[in-house]
Subunit: 304 residues, 4 copies
């Protein structure tokens, strides 16, 4: 399929589209991004590449990293992982804390903050140098040995992160955090600080479009069954409490971040990444979601 | 693919499987079913048929009907439907009532009881003879003009249904029920009372495996886009608060009922139905879910 | 103490007080009341009487009746009553339904709607002619044999009362309603429909200011211990989720109704009733609360 | 009234009483207390003293301290205090976190942990040496210049206190904590670490039995109006989610601590303290509550 041509069609349909919402504002590094930025990159699992706009510009991938830490933890402890974190959608946002209490410290899924903190705790427990090893893992996925944490972003996150401190202390109280709180938080803030371009992002996630094996390098990063399951978790939980809306309108497993990035996957076909900093009320990129909705309508291809 | 052979493989793997849970017990018609019943039927969208066990025996499809009433309401009022009901998963069960209050009477999705009642209200509003017209619609989908409501089951449901009366009164209070409460409840109990075999069930839902068009009769029941969206809603919301688990393990959009039936769809390939009355704690067929999990593992085909 | 003089002092302090809020509007009988009405009556347990304003005008006492039905049920089944309803404050209003679910159908206290419905269920269970016998009981308390239900108000309540139907159905589902739902609701609407003047109201509640025994007629309506306990329940639960505020500012056990009435008691001293139809956000009379706050400040007498 | 004689009567009635529950076990200092300890002391506001059992033995007063920190903060910033903390009962315990979220970080009352932390934050903000000045205040109330913090208990609390860290971080996130989290927590753990005897406890709280003025020394610690209001807050919120039960059975404003102590007040009459380490399910002293229930029944004196 000629995706470049489809990109053109979609952009034509978006003519007159009025972007809404604002970039995340809780740290300067996100607040000060030019809100008109817009980039798209698509890579097929046969290594065809298509892009538009600011697809070569780096942005903070934020929560999108949580898929990669999940993959790493899943490889390490297999299905035992699910004793400490669930795979169910989270319902409404105001429930996060009560559900943690009600469920005795077991977060609903690995992508809400509480769940991502548990995943970090697993990695801190099983890795000798979690920060270093995680970075190396992401580098190997992306084929880019120069990827780095952004310490400025990590520091900003840390300075404002009372909510995450609240969550991790509650889970520690309920017995689902095994390591030192500050160590786990530090790791968490670092992994969310990575910056990538749309191009790098699709390359990094391509293995999930082909059952865990990178078809370009032929390296297997995850078993086929686990790869499908990570996609399933993204489908159900990848967009905060807007997972239903994204499934309904876009129809692809994916993950968003408050930096305005979204990565999505059509299994056996492609991985696509979009970036546009303005967020809707649920914290997902407004324009990014619109673009993907029109894109899957135009291609008439989704998982459904 | 030779699905019959795969059925055999799966059954072999289930050798030694110990069924657990009990059939639903709140009405005699469900309580008195032989809990050892087990049937499977698969139909491809090229009309190949495969089955095992009690696939020709009728059982109460219960909530599985809610997909069909959704389809009918969606055809009638298009995207306006989503002003009155959401497409997000419901979170934990104990939240149902508080979420209704918090969301001002808008149910999270069309498959929780509150949502299905709103769908019934829509049909009562827009159809002249809702019960008759809905039955005719199901008959046309199934190609079986003899399908009937089971009045015995409908009566039993009505006699025990204080919870549904509580829900519909709350929504009436909040302005999201427009018709007479008793009329809507009567319609609701009837539509949940339909009985089908696994064979009939797959035939009825086959159009959702081919973008809304029945490839055998060439009749279009739903637009391609709406058909995909119904599948998306099933994926996210079809299994009460076990949607994540089903997605994770089975990886197909589907819908379960407390009669022990499950229908699931692999878009562009097939529709499968299983029936086994013992339910797990979340109200889904234990053995049915296990069978489907092994089945999609064996075929290595899912939407992910 | 010369309460009449204190009334004058308080009114002087309220000079310039700007009443706020609106009368209850969900039924015409409450909506159409003149919002500027204001009456006060105080009776000591030595039968001294003091009043100001519209103290001889009848108004709908609404939830204030719930104290009287509680008294009657408590006499009938003693401490067994507390197996079916609690004595704890209700917390925030949006919790009512979830707490009922969480607590398995046991309402937090007899004054929230759910609790008052359970009390009605108790009376329907133990009385031959609940409506008649309850009315006679209220007549005997008030010394006024002409008190009547107001059928017009009862009918209006019934026509709008989907929320109460929701609550009672939920409790029926959870096993805490033993009688026919419509019978209990009919009784409930009637008992809330009684109209009294401030004067009649204080006379009716006077027995709670003297340990259950009417010191004027010397008739004992309730044991001393039970009378104190009813006061305790009023103190903790008599003002919806504003019980703390009322205790804090007024410092007397009392009960309010959405008709704008408040009755309050200083044990061993007096019973006071105020009436002013404008309600604050919590559903209690704005001006009535202000008057009582200044009144207990001026007298320097409260239970604390 | 001869309270010593009444003590004897009550003990006679408790003959055969089987104590239940266990001492708090989350820190060694509470866990290792002899669970059979039992002491009572009553002081009238005319300085008559009555006691039984282990009334001269020190125990950890724990949350009872929260009344004293409230008094100190209330003196410092008057009614402005209630912008940062409410006066309403807290409902069920599992709500604590969700209510904090829902109410934007404003705790329901000053006695739940979240509220007590806000009170500490107020004191840290307005005092130069909060720990020293608070201790001096308690010493002046008690007339005992040798009272000390117990650093061993404070350290134990700190080591296990992830739940409090969770609460304070959540409130910091929501803007209701103004000082450094560790400073506030350190102050909080210290103030809960004070040890007193029943005798010392009643002496310390006696001013609340006489409108804020110690009638023995004639020193005024709090205005009459504020003193009544502190009693009102104790009445509504002093026993976690068992405030209704305590009001209902005992009928006095009071405050309990997980060390097994309870202090209660009959305004214009006396202050009483009981100590017995076994706690019921709600965290209040089982035997202490029973004793007080029988005591107020026997005296036929309560605020109701």
């Amino acid at each position: 399929m000629n995706y470049q041509k489809i990109f053109t069609e979609v952009l034509k349909k978006m003519d007159g589209y009025k972007d809404s919402g604002s970039p995340a504002s809780y740290i300067p590094e996100l607040r000060d991004v030019d809100p008109s930025k817009f980039g798209v990159h698509l890579i097929t699992n046969k290594n065809k590449n298509y892009s538009i706009g600011d697809s070569e510009e780096k942005f903070s991938i934020q929560s999108i990293s949580k898929v990669l830490s999940l993959v790493m933890a899943y490889k390490l402890i297999d299905e035992d992982l699910w004793k400490r974190v669930g795979v169910e959608p989270s319902g409404t946002p105001f429930n996060s804390l009560i559900q943690l209490e009600y469920d005795q410290g077991i977060p609903r899924n690995p992508f809400i903050n509480a769940g991502a903190l548990v995943i970090c705790d697993v990695l801190v427990e099983h890795l000798e140098n979690p920060k270093e090893e995680f970075l190396n893992f992401v580098r190997s996925l992306s084929g880019n040995s120069k990827l780095e944490y952004c310490s400025r972003i990590a520091e900003s996150e840390k300075a404002t992160s009372f909510r995450n401190a609240s969550l991790i202390n509650l889970m520690k109280d309920l017995g689902n955090i095994r390591n030192d709180i500050d160590t786990v938080l530090d790791f968490y803030f670092n992994l969310c600080s990575i910056e990538m371009t749309c191009n790098e992002l699709t390359r990094t996630f391509l293995f999930l479009a082909s059952n865990g094996k990178d078809l370009i390098t032929n390296e297997r990063f995850l078993s086929s069954s686990k790869s499908k399951r990570v996609n399933a978790v993204m489908q159900l939980c990848g967009f905060y409490d807007e997972a239903g809306e994204f499934s309904f309108k876009v129809g692809l497993p994916g993950k968003s971040g408050v930096g305005g990035g979204i990565v999505a996957i059509l299994p056996n076909h492609y991985c696509i990444a979009v970036w546009s900093p303005r967020l809707n009320k649920k914290g997902n990129s407004s324009k990014g979601m619109k673009f993907l909705e029109l894109f899957t309508s135009e291609t008439e291809l989704s998982i459904f």
